[in-house]
Amino acid sequence: LEEPLIFEIGSTETTGVDFDDSGAPAQGHKLGNLVRTAPIGLPGLSEPEAVRHYTRLSRQNYAIDLGLFPLGSCTMKHNPRLNEKVARLPGFADIHPLAPVDTVQGALGVINELAFWLIGLTGMYGVAMSPKAGAHGELCGILCIKAALEKRGEGHRKVVLVPESAHGTNPATAAFAGFTVEDIPATAEGRVDLAALKARLGQDVAAVMITNPNTCGLFERDMKAISDAVHAVGGYVYCDGANFNAIVGRVRPGDLGVDAMHINLHKTFSTPHGGGGPGSGPVVLSEALAPFGPLPFTARYEDGHIRLIEEETAGEDHPDSFGRMTAFHGQMGMFTRALAYILSHGADGLKQVAEDAVLNANYMLRSLDDVLDAPFGPSGPCMHEALFSDEGFAEGFTTLDVAKALIDEGYHPMTMYFPLVVHGAMLVEPTETESKAALDQFIGALRSVAARAKTGDESLKTAPHFAPRRRLDETLAARKPVLVWSDPALAQAAE
């Protein structure tokens, strides 16, 4: 059954919300000459219709709750329902960001306690909690670096080195902050080329941005040596923490010389993706960078009272802050969820998380490397994700075909064509919340699809066949973008 758009079934006279009559006394307004007169065009549905519309829509989605979601680098793990429950406690969900500080001590306590854990797990010095998502966190880290350089009078350092396998956000962030981005090459085994990096380092380098574990699913063995070399020339080390889930509880980035790292709370600490956000990207900072972190900032005083540092007190307590990145405190609703997740696992459980994530990925790698090319397979174990290429597919068959065929097998495809360093890359990340039985079932499906790609089964080219939609015309969408609904009757009348 096709689900129509709300504009096709709703009417501007229908509402699913009632108001008490007493609420609207008929007296004069104070809206000046700005009273809205023109219609808005917002359709309404009664509650039964609305519940049905959105319930039906939801069923056209794939989701973690329905099956394994092997998107490499995206870390689709189980979202515990306890976290949803605690985030909805009125004491968290129903408090205002500008409420008097004495009335929100518990909320500040959550921020403080989460900060304590993030610092402890990463071995860093401080943490900026307010960034709204991973990319926002990257920006925060880079801004800290820029502020630190300027404080040192080295604003002339304009180069940020980024490995070619980096997430696209890394160069985008550096460029946004006014830096010049230069690539660092990779070795044949998929890691940063330390020698090449060292050769490039100099007084113009502000920072390197490295993802570790990297986007090929490998740990950067030379991380400490890289950090030392960068520090030696006066630069800073930014670590993209997107893959922190592979090492949480087992490795502290602070021990490897990292100066700043954002943590995607949804990846490592299981806040829900929600079909594309909201994210949350706190940034842990080294002692060198912490003074520059953004407002607002929280600190626990010796009497146990938690005080919020905002503009009015920053001069005293946090004078070098580069300022505000967002209106309020950050993603409080994600903090409560992440804290509940962290407390549930504890230090021992988080270590197990990393171990099981890595174990599941290696099991995937070794269960498939006879039918799929694993370009870095010979280099040794992977971390939390397994990387394959399209090497060996029949002429004209692509990673896209394999991905779409997996849909027909009942799965969401893996990440495709990323990282760019591998041709037709397929990046598979099972996460630690999949059972062995679930992995075996997926491995079976992917083996079968891979075999069809190798033998050139034409039906792959038109997959998916059993999804709510067949392949969609993305070119058409981009060429003549239709971003809002317009009434076809009106459109026709206008012609």
Partner: protein, 452 residues
């Protein structure tokens, strides 16, 4: 461990398949010095669901929930009643635990919702198009300034003194690094907004004028002249709406020819949540669509010719463009956009208009009552559901004293503008459909005692 399905037997069997003797063998690439042998010192071990829930509930109880007291805070975040069905629907696993819809064949639920959201937002803001949401209003505002720079190739943004100071702060912070010029001042306790002054200051270097509607003091002014003045100088008018419910009663900025309209959507569907996650609204004129930041959902057809939806124009985005992207953003606020869209669908136009009317009527009644308290003067000529009072005393201690008396009385301008002596006695008061007449009476009575 309740979230980890592998059993010890599974782990042994899988290590055997891999050909590794132990888990440690899989971490062989981690240098010796960086490997931790046991759980990290000083951090506690795992806890039962019961224990975690108790701990979190104890923290929650240390906060005063808005619903438990007379509550009048606004200034960029508003307390509205959200129908129970909204929260029910966004918790469906198929929405909650889905990823960004990069595989559209199995993500039509999210995509169709985003298409509906974009249309709702565009109609509400009065713009031709809208995107699939931003982090929040303040970051949307900054992205609009950057977008205006891209379009006009000019580097100076003029910010109204009525723009939320946190929004100004975000713009200033970011501009420090990007080299833009930001002109901004603190507001005066005038009865109306600073439109005339803004018009005077537009020049040939101006990329945009940013004006909040209603503004931080709750004042509302016609944007038409301002838009015309901007356009005369080939600058853009960016309007910022922090209370979208207002647009159920007021002309939209788009109607008054604003080029970009951004907003904080939190009022509809999302709730207070101590400041986040919220949902940034972003709409603009059709001609600027390819310069918009953020995700966009577009209509297309599938191989069978059926209507379907996809993320589109992603060539603007970082995962394709890398350092040439329009923004470094790679998430939207999907689930909050869903909550917004469901709540807006439940309201419909009729419900939104009723909601706005009730908010306004309540605010008018409250303003009149509070203005009768000795030592209180109403600043605004016109307002929607929020207005500013000038007190006979400094407002910050008054707010604290009222909190001790169980009334969350509004936002003092002293908190928002700590360095502006002239604003110290200002108090911004918001009234919504959740405010009762008894709440207002309690507030007035207690305020009178505190000011006495």
């Amino acid at each position: 461990m309740r979230y980890l399905p592998l059993t010890p037997d599974d782990r042994r069997a899988m290590l055997a398949t891999i050909g590794a003797a132990s888990i440690d063998d899989l971490f062989v690439d981690v240098p010796e010095h960086a490997r931790l042998s046991g759980p990290i010192d000083g951090l506690p071990n795992h806890a039962s669901e019961l224990a975690v829930e108790r701990h979190m509930a104890a923290l929650a109880r240390q906060n005063v929930a808005a619903g438990d007291v007379p509550f009048f805070l606004g200034a960029g975040a508003y307390r509205h009643h959200v129908p129970a069905s909204v929260d029910h629907l966004i918790q469906r696993g198929e929405f909650l635990t889905a990823y960004t819809p990069y595989q559209p064949e199995i993500a039509q639920g999210t995509l169709q919702m985003l298409f509906e959201f974009q249309t709702q937002v565009a109609r509400l803001l009065g713009t031709d198009v809208a995107n699939a949401s931003m982090y929040d209003g303040s970051t949307a505002c900054w992205e609009a300034i950057v977008m205006a720079r891209r379009i006009t190739r000019r580097g100076k943004a003029i910010l109204s003194s009525g723009l939320h100071p946190h929004y100004v702060s975000v713009a200033r912070t970011m501009a420090t690094f990007t080299g833009d010029a930001i002109e901004a001042t603190a507001p005066c306790l005038d009865a109306g907004p600073d439109t005339a002054s803004l018009i005077d200051r537009i020049d040939d270097d101006t990329s945009c004028v940013v004006v909040q509607y209603p503004d931080i003091l709750g004042r509302i002014g016609d944007l038409s002249d301002l838009a015309a003045a901007c356009h005369a100088k080939k600058a853009l008018l960016i309007a910022v709406v922090t209370e979208p419910v207002a647009l159920g009663a007021l002309k939209s900025p788009g109607e008054m020819d604003a080029d970009i309209v951004v907003g904080e959507g939190q009022s509809i569907g999302v709730g207070l949540q101590f400041g986040g996650p919220y949902v940034g609204l972003f709409g603009c004129k059709q001609k600027y669509v390819r310069q918009m930041p953020g995700r966009l959902c577009g209509e297309t057809v599938d191989a069978d010719g059926k209507r379907g939806f996809v993320l589109t124009l992603s060539t603007r985005e970082q995962h394709i463009r890398r350092e040439k992207a329009t923004s470094n953003i790679c998430t939207n606020s999907g689930l909050c956009a869903l909550a917004f869209s469901i709540h807006m669908t439940l309201l419909g136009e009729a419900g939104l208009r009723d909601l706005a009317a009730i908010n306004h009527a309540g605010a008018v009644a409250a303003a009149e009552r509070l203005a009768r308290v000795p030592g209180v003067t109403l600043v605004n000529d016109a307002f929607f559901n929020e207005f500013t009072l000038e007190l006979s005393k400094e407002a910050r201690p008054v707010v604290r004293a009222l909190a001790d008396r169980g009334v969350l009385a509004g936002v003092s301008l002293g908190r928002l503008y700590p360095n502006e002596e002239s604003l110290a006695n200002g108090l911004v008061v918001a009234v919504t459909e959740t405010t009762t007449a008894e709440d207002v009476e309690t507030f007035a009575t207690e305020l009178e005692e505190v000011l006495a």
